[in-house]
Amino acid sequence: MERIREKLSILADAAKYDVSCSSSGSKRKNTDKGIGDASNGICHTYTEDGRCVSLLKILLTNYCIYDCAFCVSRSSNDIKRAAFTVDEVVELTMNFYRRNYIEGLFLSSGIFKNADYTMERLLKIVKKLRTEERYNGYIHLKTIPGASEELINEAGLYVDRMSINLEMPTEEGLKKVAPEKSHEAVKRPLGIVQNKIQQFREERKLIKHVPRFVPAGQSTQMVIGATPENDMQIMHTASAYYKNFSLKRVYYSGYIPIRTDDVLPVVQPPLMREHRLYQTDWLLRFYGFNVHELLNEKHPDLDMQVDPKLMWALRNMHCFPVDINTADFQSLLRVPGIGRQSVQKILEARKFGRLRIDQLRKLGIAYNRAQYFIVCADTPVGLGSLQEHQVRSRILSLGKSKYAPAFSTQLSLF
């Protein structure tokens, strides 16, 4: 028992810097009374830093032949090493899953011996789970850079999501910290899997029983703050990868300098910046914003004081106020304080009469924030004519953004 506890502690610890914990987007059903399904995306618990725990996130091993400067597992780092056997990973996954601790497995690995040797073992694990254990829970597999196309293709038949990390937002940044790596080497497997997904989809249209191939799609991750890229570079890279490889998600991970001495206090990762990047990512994917509207040569960085939607609105006061009772879907969606669901509710509710301020509040709109950008049936005249800086200071004084309390302890340090 002590040995397996130690292994788990080493190999979970080394895996936790991968931030993806998404377990949604797959439609895998439980067939023939096997165990599990992967269509729900549940967070089973939350870490003490408030992140969702949905998957058992572990490395097969933290031995690695490479020496990437940002990574805990780099070969030059003096840390304890361990490796699971194939069966240990399978049993751990099954026993956690059956107790409803997790939605599934997030498996990655340091590169042991060489890429294919490692990839073969990862493949054995996912294959055993699906075929012998009849496990239908979620599997996210991080591909090993440099693994052969055959191994990647076979693994694709068993997993729900595949990912491979860009690590740094630009090629130059990556070269600095990991000379052996390149964005080109990431594009190759992303391209292979993207083509296969497409091919299986086509075949599915013709023949019903074509197996699924990486049904939850691909994702990638960038480390933020380790290299000097600005927010524009980061988001333009993200946007390009979303487009070129039909990625499901891009993750941003605030860099935490990994120290070997523990004399110095823990260094705060750039949490607010990371948060603003996620908000921007969200606006690109669900709010119809184009990356150039938010970040461009004139505004290369995000505003840390206000969220990017409010930032855009303040820069574009000429687009406001919009009339709650007549504006179309897209214009309502751009109002700070009104989310997607609220837009739906407004569109429904205004069929029954012109909406007033108190009704808007009841619908769950952040009216205190939205008031500067809208007119309702009973809006007093004059509110709409404030200047950008007036609106900004009023909103800021009004109270923290929804997320500010969560960061207050950190921000007060500066």
Partner: protein, 256 residues
Amino acid sequence: MIYLFDKSFEGLLSAVFDRFEYRHDVSRLLPADQAQQVLFEETHTVYSSSAKSERVWKGIQAKADAAWQRIIYCAFLSELTEVHHTLFMVLVRLFAGQVNLKNFGDATVLLLSQTAKKVEREKHRMKAFIRFEKSEDGMYFARIAPDFNVIPLIITFFKNRYADQPWIIYDQKRLYGVLYDTDQVHHIRKLPEDLSDHMLPDKPVQMDEDETLYATLWRDYFKSTNIEARKNPKLHRQHVPKRYWHLLTEKKIIWE
């Protein structure tokens, strides 16, 4: 007139039936066990009947879309007296053609949809927070104590997911549960004393020999996923409210 009912869904729908049958002018729907609150007004005790409630439910199906049928049922599961009363009133107005369920500007409609949302949220939480313990005979056993009566909403989910293992989910607040025997789901009422909560910490059932191992590994794992530099207890409690901690393997105090 005040209506008294037995707090069942059947009872609530039967109350709507009676209201149209007898053309009473009903001011309030109350659970029968709160009858002592009524001092001067006349009361009518609703007898729950499946014949009556089925007719009313058919009527609801004709007048409300699937989403609203779900809202009605979820709001009922809140078990809140005020919400049951509102539900009754809205249903009466629905049959009288005096309410539009799409009008969220209507406070009663809004109350029902917001209550249903709370119930759905707890249902979602239960899907996440239920923790099975494996006993010696291979049974996976989970205790819950939710604010609302959410078991009816999670049965299908667990049946589909854990189709090849027998399990019990037991609500120790409401003293009932469901048992899945890998074929069918059975309702179980009030477990024998020795399985209920106050017998802890002496584990009543013999646990599987690996139970402690995996519970320990899970607690280890939970601890190790934490990144100290990002610690944020407030956010943590927002996601995992304290009232659920005592039944979470990774949060509860261990009796050792």
